[in-house]
């Protein structure tokens, strides 16, 4: 882990600016996330409260609440872009690592959000459905939406605890022990804040009468009380004593929250409505100071880590430096190579085995148990050659080249044929064979060779299981010399064994027999 390094590309903006922008944009994003979640929770609650839509729809509170969902969620999504960008640039390694740990859930976010958003927006925008269906859609959308902050809370928990990465990895990519408890409290803390902000928003902007306001008051107060309890629990889980800055922000937040609670209780007891000019600034002050607390707790671990990662990145970059020139030259040259002609394709894709001269003596030939064929010795048909190129030779190193479309393979075949004239029947034998010898060879072919090659030269039933299979003599041959060579020495790595013990004349006879199968 000490060897982890940052990315090699420099950061595009100064750290202080990055952290400032991150904090600001994250606060904005979170505000709308809380409103989105709060709106969703309250809308489902008030739908059930209205006897699942039993009351006239114009009067229904849940409907008016849900109408605001589209604006909240759209802003939550777009405002989330900046913090995501900034955190990925500023804390690249910790963030992507944490994402990676929870990758399946992280990617599911896309699916969950789409279903939840479509569900709520459909219900909120006059797409009236039967109330049971409305209930089912609402509950499903809410359930999926509530998973989302859970995933983010898990990622941030891993993100802030690089010391536990090894443990998370060994534990099967799950949060365990203290981290799991921390995650739970943190998750509930987000939901609590959502209830507070959601009920606050709808209290001031949507509620139309005292009944509705009273009801939201209860949510608001309960939410704040819950936040106090969860805050204390989270504080108890802090691994070390917080420094002065953290304590100061925390105190500001607690005092603001306490004043808020006191103010709320005092107006409730006098049966008066909340004053937005008091409640809103206090709420925002609590939000900002609590987020600052979070930020500074996180910085304690991550800032030193980031320094180390950057130092490692510089060291790593220096190790790579010697290769840079050569790499760029190779890259520049490769841009000029176009695989649209036979010559290029041959020299890049074939020659490392078959050799620049097509003699089967490429750079890698000696590493292969089945040697690459001497291309200049091949005598075959266009069609068969295409079959080999497109299908490869199973049981050998020869791969299939369907990575090139038919046009390209045709050009390759043209090139090979032009250079080595391989699309033809084999040339006549360089030696003369007497009829007696030819008949003797024929007997040997029938008794021995045909067991594998088949009496017709297309390969016997037995040979179908071979890896590689023998070639089809009716469409594929090698030059007389090369055929003679294969008969004499066998074909390494295949079932074809050497028959050098036969007299040379007989072997030439066999060459003739094999070649006569062409075109039959």
């Amino acid at each position: 882990m000490n060897r982890l390094s940052d990315l090699l590309l420099e950061k595009p903006l100064p750290d202080a600016l990055l952290r400032g922008l991150l904090f600001t944009s994250f606060t904005l994003h979170l505000l709308f996330v809380l409103l989105t979640l709060g709106t969703a929770i309250l809308s489902v609650h008030y739908f059930i409260d209205s006897h699942c839509g039993g009351r006239p729809k114009e009067l229904r509170f849940d409907n008016r609440i849900l109408k605001t969902f589209m604006a909240h969620k759209s802003l939550a999504v777009v405002l989330g872009i900046a913090p995501l960008l900034l955190i990925q640039v500023g804390s690249t390694i910790p963030f992507f690592t944490a994402v990676n740990f929870f990758a399946p859930y992280w990617m599911l976010l896309v699916v969950f959000l789409i279903i939840a958003f479509l569900g709520f927006d459909a219900l909120g925008h006059k797409i009236y459905v039967h109330r049971y269906l409305h209930f089912a859609v609402g509950v499903l959308a809410l359930a999926l939406l509530l998973v989302v902050p859970g995933i983010f809370a898990a990622i941030l928990t891993a993100f802030e605890n690089p010391g536990r990465w090894q443990a998370i990895m060994n534990g099967g990519y799950r949060l365990t022990g203290v981290l799991a408890v921390h995650w739970l409290f943190r998750y509930l803390h987000i939901l609590g804040a959502a209830v507070v902000f959601g009920s606050g928003f709808h209290y001031f902007f949507i509620a139309a009468d005292d009944t509705e306001r009273k009801s939201l008051q209860t949510w608001f107060v309960a939410g704040i009380l819950l936040q106090f309890i969860l805050g204390i629990l989270l504080y108890g889980l802090l691994p070390e004593r917080p420094g002065y800055i953290i304590t100061a922000f925390l105190l500001v937040g607690i005092v603001a929250a306490a004043i808020l609670l006191w103010a709320v209780f005092s107006v409730v007891s006098k049966n008066r409505p909340f004053n937005i000019r008091l409640v809103l600034p206090l709420l925002l002050l609590v939000l900002v100071s609590m987020l600052l607390t979070r930020q500074f707790i996180q910085d304690r671990t991550l800032l030193p880590l980031q320094k180390r990662l950057e130092a490692n990145a510089i060291a790593y970059g220096n190790e790579l430096k010697p290769f840079e020139r050569q790499t760029l030259d190779t890259y520049g040259a490769s841009l000029k190579v176009v695989y649209d002609n036979g010559e290029t394709i041959y020299s890049r894709s074939c020659s490392f085995c078959h050799g620049e001269k097509g003699d089967g003596k490429g750079l890698e030939a000696k590493r292969l148990t089945t040697p690459p064929e001497d291309i200049s010795a091949i005598r075959t048909t266009r069609r068969y050659l295409h079959t080999i190129l497109a299908g490869g030779v199973s049981g050998s190193a020869m791969p299939y080249f369907t990575v090139f479309d038919r046009y390209k393979l045709d050009r390759l075949i043209d090139y090979l044929d032009k250079k080595y004239s391989i699309v033809r029947v084999p040339e006549p034998l360089p030696v003369k064979i007497s009829d007696a010898l030819f008949q003797q060879a024929g007997k040997i072919y029938d008794e021995t060779c045909s067991l594998c090659h088949g009496s017709d030269g297309r390969g016997s039933a037995l040979s179908k299981g071979f890896q590689p299979q023998p070639p089809d003599f009716t469409v594929y041959s090698l030059s007389p010399e090369r055929t003679f060579d294969v008969i004499t020495n066998g074909y390494p790595g295949t079932t074809m064994s050497p028959f050098g013990s036969l007299t040379a004349d007989v072997r030439w006879g066999l060459v003739k027999i094999v070649h006569e199968k062409r075109g039959q």
Partner: protein, 457 residues
């Protein structure tokens, strides 16, 4: 090798990103730019013709569009980023650094865009009569911002194919204003209006009754479709003419894949048939044959979605071995790193692999090497299954092929690692093809059996 690995089972990284991205393109181009433009035009026609039909059509279509764009469009757009964060962190992390400021500007533009469309939507019934024209300006402002979004994002997309001088100079502007930038931007706008006119026609034909309004509107959308299709075709031609031949030559294969690459005529037949289909639809609509148009519209929409998918597939595929040409290969190995790893070894330079429990078994090492070298494109047992790709090859054959992947198949990156590591990987792959290594897709390093953290560092 800063990050651990996650491999998406069965579909593979590319397919997951691709599916999400195509869905996003259809909505962001077709609805967010295209359809909303036609909504604003319809609203304007409602005003100048004092037509309640045009006005009502625009309003209803907007409701549908805004639910889909803010619900699916925005999320799939962010989704491309979320998914690549999980599957290709080094690539996206590096791109974010080079293109930080366009990305950040995009955030501002996107936020304004959302604010404008929300105001446009929520003020529809309130800004009427003398304020109507102002309301229409709001819509135009939104469309302008949406095009600005495309303007910012296209620079980044173009870079991934034509990074031009960036690998040498590492300076921002040539990277952003790369050679394929302008043609791609125009092509995308052409696509937006093509899809937009088709979506408008679908909404029209399926929500409005037969009558003079439907005929009048269909004529307009048909004419718009004809112009947009023609413009898209011209810009597509321009775009492909600036793509370097070294990449472009793989375009046919990108579409046909190994499965159909030996019948390349299919590529031309299908594309011509698709184009004829689209032009037929636009001519039928202009001739006001609304019954026939209703039959043709769904196939036409599917064809246009197919074209979008084809374009994105080609663009993403032909950049082949590179994620960032001249800097990073598709498997997230830097170009500079390959010779370094070939000399020093990739395993010991991979903190995550060395950290993972059970990292010393041949299967675990092989799976680790596969993850780093191959898993950006290949899966084990799924799409582009590596076991099928190497099936039939001998182990020495695989060993040799691995050393030449980038030459043999020019859209593959080279293998990074020492000869010993290459032999380990060859053995692993051979075992996979023979079924002797029973590795179900190792989504991560060393499937954590929790052996108590056997790090070897």
């Amino acid at each position: 090798m800063e990050f651990p690995v996650f491999q998406f089972s069965y579909l593979g990284s590319g397919m997951v990103i691709g599916l999400d991205a195509v869905l996003h393109v259809i909505i962001s181009h077709g609805l967010a730019i295209g359809a909303v433009s036609f909504i604003v035009i319809s609203e304007y026609l409602g005003l100048v013709k004092a037509s309640r039909d045009w006005e009502a059509f625009a309003r209803d279509f907007l409701k549908f569009t805004i639910i889909i764009t803010t619900g699916i469009g925005a999320i799939t757009g962010a989704g491309i980023w979320l998914i690549t964060s999980a599957l290709s962190p080094r690539g996206i992390g590096s791109m974010l650094r080079i293109f930080f400021w366009p990305w950040f500007s995009e955030w501002i533009v996107f936020t304004c865009e959302v604010i404008f469309i929300l105001i446009y939507y929520f003020t529809w019934s309130r800004w009427v009569r003398e304020r109507k024209l102002k309301h229409i300006y709001l819509g135009m402002m939104y469309v302008f911002l949406a095009i600005c979004s495309a303007w910012l994002i296209t620079g980044i997309l173009g870079f991934m194919l034509t990074s031009d001088g960036w690998p040498w100079a590492k300076s921002f502007w040539p990277a952003f204003l790369n050679p394929s930038y302008l043609p791609q931007l125009l092509l995308r706008i052409g696509m937006a209006f093509s899809l937009g006119s088709l979506f408008s026609a679908v909404f029209l034909l399926f929500t409005r009754r037969e009558g003079t309004f439907r005929i009048e509107a269909l004529k307009l959308f048909g004419k718009a479709a004809l112009i947009s299709f023609s413009a898209t075709a011209v810009f597509a031609w321009w775009y492909f003419s600036v793509v370097p031949s070294t990449f472009k030559t793989h375009a046919v294969f990108a579409v046909l894949t190994s499965r159909f690459s030996q019948q390349p005529e299919i590529f031309w037949y299908v594309n011509c048939a698709g184009a004829i289909m689209l032009f037929t639809f636009s001519l039928v609509s202009m001739r006001s044959a609304s019954a026939l148009a209703k039959i043709l519209i769904i196939p036409a929409l599917l064809v246009s979605i197919g074209f979008v998918g084809e374009f994105e597939r080609i663009r993403e595929f032909i950049r082949g071995p590179y994620l960032m040409p001249g800097y990073m290969y598709a498997n997230q190995v830097l170009l500079d790193e390959t010779p370094f790893f070939n000399k020093e070894g990739i395993v010991k330079n991979d903190p995550w692999l060395t950290m993972s429990p059970d990292n010393q078994g041949i299967a675990a090492l092989g799976a680790g090497l596969f993850a780093r070298n191959c898993s950006a494109c290949h899966t084990i047992g799924g799409i582009n299954d590596i076991a099928k790709k190497v099936d039939g090859r001998t182990v020495d054959g695989i060993f040799v092929i691995l050393a030449h992947t980038h030459e043999m198949a020019p859209f593959m990156p080279p293998f990074s690692g020492t000869e010993d590591e290459r032999r380990t990987l060859a053995g692993f792959l051979y075992g996979l093809s023979k079924g002797t290594v029973k590795e179900h897709t190792p989504s991560r390093f060393a499937p954590a059996h929790a052996h108590g953290g056997g790090t070897h560092e």
